[in-house]
């Protein structure tokens, strides 16, 4: 086909115009880049994957749905509960690429519960439980659920054999059928530990981080801290993978259990940021002038000597800001990362006696905070608050909009949150 220069110009301008048109993106900023059919405006629902507590309600893990649409009659209320019919240490969740299903992991039972959130987004329904992870892969502790086209890549924390932190990733298709596993590297400086995974599709790059195995994450935190031998069994590495080949290419030494990974969402950026739980630092993974990936510490989070224990992070849509929760002091912190080489904390607020997960809306105006870390790591007594709070963020301060007390409602421990909407349209 021959085109005149003019038509070529029109074609390219048409394409570039459309590329400038915002693609479907989640209101929440920290999702797989392969998700679709997501919302950019006001979310309707907040899904909260909740740990069951023995003797509280049915005692089971459950997906709790909150109505978060302003003006709704049930705004800030629980409108649905979908039980997993077990108490297996509910932890993280992730959407499939079409956002019709939420995969929810249980760190102690090694099960993956799949909830249908597409058919009726206000009333999620448990449709399947995957029980073959351990038998098929030898992996244990399904943690991160990262959507690939038609597939779910599951990052795990441990293994069936010895409960240590040596682990890998399992690949399932969206139908829930096991496909294969990928081991975290134990050579070239790798410790084999796993935690989060995050993909930069434009660079065919995947980063993984490292935490600890079942023997540690199911232990009582107070006892664990007093056990020097056990405290050595935390991850100290991140790994850069060739995504297409699923091949580890570079191991970075990142001491102190690097956890959540957030790639910059700005097109053309080539950096990701993470926080280290035990050493309380922000680390940057970025391409250097020669095009090679490098990792380096760029900021402290609070006073590392006091072990504030940074946990979840949420990056702003323009990738100039980063929310970081620190569990021990119950503080939600905002970092200016306009220059990712030198992040600066510009705001902090105590949002609870203990806080773990933080999720912000795509427009940055709403910030959700939840309380639970792990059943045996949460605080005791009056400090064991269990809640979800919504804050409004005006760029200067967080203002509480509602608090849902998960103990008062006999729901359990509030953990990972995902934003939901009523969906883009009707069935064909």
């Amino acid at each position: 086909m021959q085109l005149t220069e003019g038509w070529k110009l029109i074609s390219l301008l048409l394409l570039s115009t459309s590329l400038l048109t915002p693609a479907g993106r989640a209101d929440e900023t920290c999702n797989s880049p392969y998700l679709s059919s997501l919302i950019r405006g006001q979310e309707d629902y907040l899904y909260v994957w909740t740990l069951g507590v023995k003797g509280m309600g049915d005692g089971f893990d459950k997906l709790v749905t909150l109505d978060v649409k302003p003006g709704s009659r049930t705004f800030g209320k629980v409108i649905a509960q979908a039980s997993a019919r077990e108490r297996g240490e509910a932890h993280h969740v992730g959407f499939t690429d079409d956002c019709r299903f939420l995969w929810a992991g249980a760190l102690d039972s090694n099960k993956i519960h799949i909830f249908d959130v597409g058919a009726n987004p206000g009333q999620p329904r448990l449709v399947r439980t995957i029980t073959d992870l351990g038998a098929r892969s030898g992996l244990f502790g399904p943690h991160t659920f990262y959507a690939l086209p038609g597939r779910m890549l599951v990052g795990t924390l441990s293994n069936v054999k010895d409960g240590s932190g040596v682990t890998g990733m399992a690949l399932y298709n969206n139908q829930g059928e096991y496909l294969r596993k990928y081991d975290l590297p134990v050579d070239r400086g790798g410790d084999g530990y796993g935690y989060d995974l995050a993909i930069n599709p434009a660079r065919n790059a995947m980063l993984t981080s490292s935490f600890t195995g079942r023997k540690n994450y199911m232990a009582n935190l107070g006892a664990l801290i007093k056990d020097p031998a056990a405290m050595k069994n935390f991850g100290n590495t991140m790994v850069m993978w060739n995504l297409k080949a699923m091949r580890p290419e570079q191991v970075f030494h990142v001491p102190g259990a690097p956890l959540e990974i957030r790639w910059s969402l700005r097109p053309g950026d080539d950096w990701a940021i993470t926080s280290t739980a035990l050493t309380s630092q922000l680390w940057l993974v970025k391409k250097d002038a020669k095009g090679g990936w490098q990792a380096k510490a760029v900021a402290d989070i609070g006073d590392p000597a006091k072990t504030p224990l940074p946990v979840d992070m949420s990056i702003t849509a323009d990738s100039k800001g980063l929310w970081v929760n620190t569990f021990m002091d119950g503080t939600t912190r905002y970092f200016d990362i306009s220059n990712p080489e030198a992040p600066r904390q510009t705001y902090a607020k105590k949002t609870g006696s203990q806080v773990n997960m933080v999720s912000q809306s795509w427009d940055g105006k709403r910030v959700y905070v939840s309380s639970s870390l792990l059943a045996n790591w949460d605080k005791a007594g009056k400090d064991d608050e269990q809640f979800v709070k919504l804050y409004a963020w005006d760029g200067k301060q967080l203002t509480e909009q509602f608090k849902v007390d998960f103990y008062k409602l006999k729901l359990g421990r509030a953990h990972h949150m995902k934003l939901g909407s009523k969906g883009p349209g009707a069935p064909l």
Binding site: L14, D98, P427, L428
Partner: protein
């Protein structure tokens, strides 16, 4: 200079038309003639060097569903017949889709891939392309034939490219489900007046000779160079299996 000014003005008008179409949700979407966006320059640059063929493994993700489909000449086929025997690159499209990250991108990518395959002796004759409609009502075989234009080739050329549809939504639904392809109606079409506005996630499927999906491409890495290496990887795998006496 006047000619250039005219072309720039026309381009601006085109951009405005796209913007209006975007904002005018639920209204008629512009019918984009595919060859316009099929210009190879419309395939975005690739931000990485894909791994060499044969140095990685493509997983067996799912089996392609079967069902009756209509080719652009009106012939009825079982889909399985058009997704086995050769390496197949398959995607769902609809003729009036104007989302640059959707059907036009799939068309442009397959068009560029077709050129690559036709000029590569190792691939030529071993690959087919299939584009299948989301909308059996608006996209009749004649509409699909028009959409495919000179690219439509039901088997005689170097690189067959089938432009398929189905006789009804009822026949289409199990195929969509089998591929795990989402689609929803954002705005229904008024009877006889305009087609519906559809929302879908672009997925392009790479299918091996046995009819197993081995890769699904999202826009972020849908690129002819990636497809070419993946096709070569499948052909190398088949050759190695044949040498070892495996089916």
């Amino acid at each position: 200079m006047n000619r250039r000014l005219c072309m720039v003005a026309l381009a601006v008008l085109c951009m405005a038309a796209v913007a209006v179409a975007w904002a005018w949700h639920g209204q008629r979407r512009p019918v984009v003639h595919p060859p316009l966006l099929a210009y190879p320059g419309a395939v975005p640059a690739l931000g990485f060097v894909p791994p060499a063929p044969g140095t990685y493994q493509l997983e067996r993700i799912l089996r392609v569903p079967d069902g009756a489909v209509l080719d652009s000449d009106g012939t009825v086929h079982g889909l399985r017949a058009l997704t086995t025997g050769k390496v197949t690159v398959f995607s769902f499209v609809y003729t009036y889709c104007a989302d640059a990250q959707g059907c036009p991108l799939a068309y442009a990518t397959l068009h560029a891939l077709k050129g690559m395959v036709a000029h590569d002796a190792a691939l030529r004759g071993r690959v087919r392309l299939v584009s299948m409609s989301f909308d059996p009502v608006a996209d009749t075989p004649a509409a699909m034939r028009s959409y495919g234009g000179a690219d439509a080739d039901t088997g005689a050329g170097l690189v067959p490219w089938h432009f398929l549809t189905t006789a009804s939504t009822a026949q289409l639904a199990p195929l969509l489900a089998g591929f795990g392809q989402d689609v929803s109606v954002v705005a229904p079409g008024a009877a006889g007046a305009r087609p519906p506005v559809l929302a879908h996630l672009l997925k392009v499927y790479l299918i091996d000779q046995a009819g197993i999906v081995r890769e699904m491409y999202a826009p972020a890495y849908l690129h002819p160079a990636v497809l070419r290496n993946d096709i070569a990887t499948l052909l190398m795998e088949a050759k190695a299996a044949a040498s070892a006496g495996r089916p």
